[in-house]
């Protein structure tokens, strides 16, 4: 496991003072977005205080199934990721790009202003941080940096949470992205339930250190640090799901004509849910809208998916008519060609696509089925 990048020794925050942290963030002009219960699910939305968090709730995950349950304690973060990810905050689902208006014989363009309002994300897990880093590379750092993404990203303060328990869809350990946040946060919390309810607070940025100082937090004891490390170790060891990443890219790309694609294609609904919940998928569609009088116009972009037929439309007709081909596009992009494009995996092991696939299609299982068939192994 890579070492944790922190700026100071960790602190300890009593549970009763969690709201002071919220208050500090608000005082610094941040709107806080974090987990909260809506319609029987833990979603990400604006939270005002710790009372808005899913205190005492937990989640059950299985392929194609999610249920909210009560816990028998008052854990604040005793659950894992829901259908939402912080992708919704940075690469918003629907983004206006510009408006245009006819002005005599000219056309005047008004670019959409970028959103620089400060947002604090509370409850980002290790896999979430890896997903943000993955999208940063594409949308903030690459040759095609997106000003809307960059503005929102720069205005964000990230409060990570170390996972005390994993759920059956989780497999972050296969990619080394969790369960304990190691980088990419301002501040990271590990919830300690033994003894007095408290959090170990790790510091990842100068601003986080300022906040800890403002709060007057005391330094964490050796025991508290040991307890946090123990929790992370227990969570790692308890993770049931695994994806064998050894030679994964080569394995997938050598089986592009494998009959198993038809098998999964016959079960897949081409419904787009997996790509929509995936925190790294970044595909968008451009939508133009004109007014009735033809005098004004606006362009937006919105989340799209390689599972919809028109995604692959060239000259009006989709080239990927076959659902098997669409599933193959998704899986090989996530796990193989993403590496060619961006030098890393497009999957961070968050398990969202497994839980939220209505057809209970589980990419780790599909990969295992493809891998098990040695008959198609090509000689290196």
């Amino acid at each position: 496991m890579s070492s944790i990048r922190t700026l100071s020794p960790p602190f300890v925050l009593p549970r009763a003072r969690l709201d002071d942290l919220f208050e500090r963030l608000r005082a610094r002009g941040y709107r806080v977005i974090g987990p909260r219960v809506r319609d029987g699910v833990i979603v990400l939305d604006t939270v005002k205080s710790s009372a808005d968090l899913p205190v005492g709730y937990t989640d059950e995950h299985a392929p194609g199934r999610y249920r909210l349950r009560r816990r028998n304690d008052d854990a604040v973060f005793g659950f894992v990721v829901g259908p939402d990810s912080f992708k919704r905050t940075f690469l918003v689902p629907v983004q206006r790009l510009f408006r245009a208006r006819r002005d005599g014989d000219r056309v005047r363009f008004s670019p959409e202003p970028v959103d620089t309002s400060k947002v604090a994300l509370v409850g980002a897990r290790g896999c979430d941080l890896a997903a943000i880093e993955t999208q940063d590379e594409i949308l903030a750092e690459g040759a095609h940096a997106d000003p809307f993404y960059v503005a929102r990203r720069e205005a964000a303060f990230i409060v990570a949470v170390s996972c005390s328990e994993s759920r059956s869809s989780c497999f972050c350990t296969s990619f080394g992205t969790g369960p304990r946040p190691t980088r990419g946060f301002d501040l990271s919390l590990t919830e300690l339930l033994d003894g007095p309810h408290r959090f170990l607070v790790e510091i990842g940025s100068a601003e986080a250190l300022e906040i800890a100082t403002e709060l007057g937090l005391s330094t964490a004891s050796e025991q508290d640090q040991g307890a946090a490390a123990g929790i992370a170790l227990r969570t790692s060891r308890g993770m049931e799901r695994q994806l064998d990443t050894q030679g994964l890219r080569e394995m997938l790309l050598s089986r592009l004509e494998h009959p198993h694609w038809q098998d999964v294609g016959s079960r897949c609904l081409a419904c787009t849910n997996c790509t929509a919940v995936c925190p790294t998928c970044f595909c968008v569609d451009i939508v133009d809208k004109s007014s009735l009088d033809g005098e004004s116009h606006e362009r937006t972009r919105q989340h799209d998916s390689c599972f919809s037929a028109d995604y692959s439309a060239v000259h009006g007709h989709p080239v990927r008519n076959d659902v098997a081909a669409r599933y193959r596009q998704w899986l090989t992009h996530k796990l193989a060609t993403w590496i060619d494009q961006f030098g890393r995996s497009g999957c961070v092991g968050c398990g969202r696509c497994i839980t939220w696939c209505p057809a209970a299609i589980d990419l780790t299982r599909e990969v295992a089925r493809l891998r098990d068939d040695v008959s198609l192994e090509t000689d290196p």
Partner: protein, 265 residues
């Protein structure tokens, strides 16, 4: 120099076949935009809204309702000849509507069970969408159609471009809006994965399963959805009912409706 005559406004006709008028009402329901529509188009034939009925040809013809009589068919053939753009609006006009349930039963028996004197009836044995009879330029789905999609086809027609009518599943719209999946989280049967978008995910937004009023999506995997519906407790009868509504006349939905119907001994 004489000032050029203003370009005549494109003539709009709104025609009704077998239907409930709900889709035409969606046009009258465009309150904010209605005046602008009336300003941009010459509403030449719209009996629901005005008694001024001008003859064709028309630039844009909206057709509501399904084809249920031989007279409908003749009328459509004539309409097609006198319409530059012909756009069908709503589930009835695009797939035959709820009245296409009769396609799955014996027509003479059905007529006898409803009418004391079925011999006075002059109708076809089936209810079908307009595109089965004449070529159609664009189809607007829904029961009823969505107001903003209706405006989009009119705007596109005015400016001579193709309208934007996405064909993907309702699911993508749910996810864009942050709507919780009712199947995965609540165990509620939902036709969203096989249904075309356009409604703004109206039903799931209220924690209800989609009942497919926008008809089959670009890739309606009804067979792959069958085990999903069964896994959340939907029986064959439930599934037959789910598909047996406004778009039962669309082959993807109708076939599944027929397969799941209980066998009558």
């Amino acid at each position: 120099m004489p000032t050029p005559k203003p370009k005549p406004k494109p003539k709009l006709a709104v025609i009704k076949l077998a239907s409930c008028d709900g889709c035409q009402l969606s046009l009258l329901d465009c309150e904010d935009e209605l005046l602008a529509v009336a300003g941009a188009l010459d509403i030449a034939y719209f009996p629901e809204a005005s008694s001024r009925l001008l003859k064709g040809p028309y630039d844009v013809t909206l057709v509501e309702g399904s084809v249920t009589t031989a007279a409908d068919r003749e009328r459509l053939a004539a309409l097609r000849r006198e319409s530059r753009l012909l756009i069908t609006i709503g589930a009835c006009a695009t797939s035959g509507g709820i009245q296409a349930l009769r396609n799955f039963q014996s027509y003479p028996e059905l007529a006898r069970s409803v009418y004391a004197h079925p011999e006075y009836l002059d109708s076809l044995a089936t209810s079908s969408g307009v595109a089965e009879h004449i070529p159609v330029d664009y189809e607007l789905r829904g029961c009823p159609v969505d107001k903003s999609q209706l405006l989009e086809v009119l705007i596109a027609a005015l400016h001579g471009r193709a309208p934007r009518l996405p064909r993907h599943s309702v699911c993508l719209e749910c996810k864009r809006r942050g709507v919780v999946c009712v199947t995965v989280a609540h165990g509620t049967p939902c036709l969203g994965p096989v249904t075309q978008t356009g409604c703004g995910a109206l039903c799931p937004r209220f924690s209800r399963g989609c009942f497919g009023c926008f008809g089959p999506s670009d890739t309606p995997r009804v067979q792959a959805l069958a085990p999903v519906l069964a896994s959340v407790g939907a029986t064959d009868t439930d599934v037959a009912r789910l598909y047996g509504t406004f778009n039962v006349g669309a082959p993807a939905f109708g076939d599944e409706h027929r397969v799941r119907l209980p066998v009558v001994e």
